[in-house]
Amino acid sequence: MESAIFKDRAVLVTGSSRGIGAAVARKFARAGANVALNYRKEGGSSEKKALELRDEIEKMGRRCVALKADISKKAEVKELVAGAVEALGGLDILILNAARSPFKPIERLLERELKQLVETNYMGNIFCIQEALPALTESKGQIIFISSLGSKFYNPSYPLGSMKAAMEAVVRDCAESLRPKGIRVNGVCGGIVRTDALKTLRQFWEELDQMPEEVFIEPDEIADAVLFLCSPAASGILGQSIVLDKGMSLSLFRSPGKK
C-alpha cells in the first residue's frame, strides 16, 4: 500500500504526534498524500514529536503542517480544519484518531472526568466531522474513525471503550446520512496495539504483560487497514468498523503466555 495511490490527496489526522495517529500520517505521506498533523497542547512532548514528524514528512517531498487544537473545543476544531484546508488546498480524508480518557472504573468517574470523556471522544469527533463537511463534500472524501476493542468487550479501567462504542454507532449513522454527499465513512477497531497508551493500560491490566506476542498489533498494521479503507479497493465497504486484533477476540479463553 506504499505506491503513490494517494498522490496529492489531503489528509487530516487528529492526535497524530505519536502512536496510531503518527503511523497513519506517515503511511499516507509515503503513499503520496499531503498531511495535516494535530496535537493538543503547546510546549509538551506531543508538540515536539508532531514537529519532528512534520519535518520527516516534508523530507519525503510532501506538504505537511502541524496544528495545535483541542478537539473538545469547537472553536479550535474550526481553526484546525481551516488551517488544514488552507495548507493542503482542500481535504480528502479525515482520520478521527485523537482520544483522551482517565483510566478508572466507570462508577468512580467524577462529573468533570465524565464531561471530559464525552467532550473529547464523542463531541470532539463530531465537531471534526461537522467542520470538515464542506471540504469533504467538495472532494467526495472519506472519514475513518479509529476505534478499539473496548467498544465491544470489557477492559479494566477503560471508560473510553463506551465512547468508542458510541462512535462506532456514529460511523454507521454518518455512513448512511453522508452517502448522498458521496462521503464514505468507516472505522478501524484495533485490539492490543503497541503504542504509548499500552504502557498506561498495562498498569491497570496486569495480565497484559502475560499476553502472547502473537496477539499484539503494531500501529503500522492499523495504518495499513486505514489506507486500505480509503483506497478504491474498499469502495464496497461502508459504515463498518473493521476489527484488527490478530484474532484475540475470537477466543473466549486464552491461556496467558501460551500459544
Partner: protein, 187 residues
C-alpha cells in the same frame, strides 16, 4: 528505607534512569529538582511510563491516581477542585503539607492541569520512598525477618525467596489522607 536495604541515592538514581529512558534524554541533564514537565518536557502519558519503569526496578506499585483525585473521591466532587478546574483553599492546604517546599507555585485558583508541572524527580522519589517504607517487618509468606536485596532495589525474603509485599501507592495515599484529616479536620 526498605528497612535500610535501599539507599536514597539508589531511589533518585532509579527515578533518573526511568525519566531518561522514557523521554530519551541524557541522564546527566536530570537533577533531583528538575521539573518533569517544565524542564524535561514530559506529558501525562510519560508519567505513567516513568512509573512503570520504577515499578519494575523496585517491585512496587506506584499510585495510579493523583492525590487530588483521591480527595474528590473521598470527600466529594468540588472539595479539591472547583467547577472551573481550579484548586480550592482546602486542596492548597493539603498539597502544601503533601509536597512541602517542593511546590512553591501552588495557590488557591491554580489550574489543576498546572499541578503536574510542579512534580520533580525528588517528589517522585519521595513517593517511592513512602512505598518502600511500607515493607512489613516479617515476610507475609513464611513469617521470617530476613529481608535481603542482591541489587539494592528488589527486596525478597532471605528464607523463602518471596518478593517483598509493599502497600501500593494509592492505598498509602488514601491512608495518609484519612489520618491527616482525622488530625486536622480539613474536609
Amino acid at each position: 528505607m526498605g528497612q535500610n536495604l535501599i539507599t536514597e541515592e539508589k531511589v533518585i538514581d532509579a527515578v533518573k534512569d526511568a525519566v531518561a529512558e522514557t523521554l530519551s534524554i541524557d541522564k546527566g541533564t536530570i537533577n533531583a529538582d528538575s521539573s518533569l514537565i517544565q524542564a524535561l518536557d514530559a506529558e501525562s502519558l510519560d508519567f505513567l511510563d516513568i512509573n512503570y519503569r520504577i515499578e519494575q526496578t523496585f517491585g512496587i506499585k506506584m499510585a495510579r491516581h493523583f492525590i487530588l483525585e483521591h480527595i474528590e473521591e473521598m470527600y466529594g466532587e468540588g472539595s479539591a477542585i472547583d467547577e472551573d478546574g481550579k484548586l480550592t483553599e482546602k486542596a492548597v492546604e493539603l498539597l502544601k503539607i503533601r509536597l512541602g517546599e517542593e511546590a512553591p507555585e501552588i495557590k488557591v485558583g491554580t489550574d489543576m492541569d498546572d499541578i503536574p508541572a510542579q512534580l520533580t524527580v525528588q517528589s517522585i522519589a519521595n513517593g517511592v520512598r513512602d512505598i518502600l517504607n511500607s515493607l512489613p517487618e516479617k515476610c507475609t509468606n513464611c513469617g521470617a525477618q530476613q529481608w535481603t536485596s542482591e541489587d539494592g532495589a528488589k527486596v525478597k525474603c532471605g528464607n523463602c525467596g518471596e518478593p517483598a509485599a509493599y502497600t501500593n501507592g494509592d492505598d498509602l495515599a488514601v491512608e495518609w489522607l484519612k489520618k491527616l484529616n482525622a488530625e486536622r479536620k480539613i474536609f
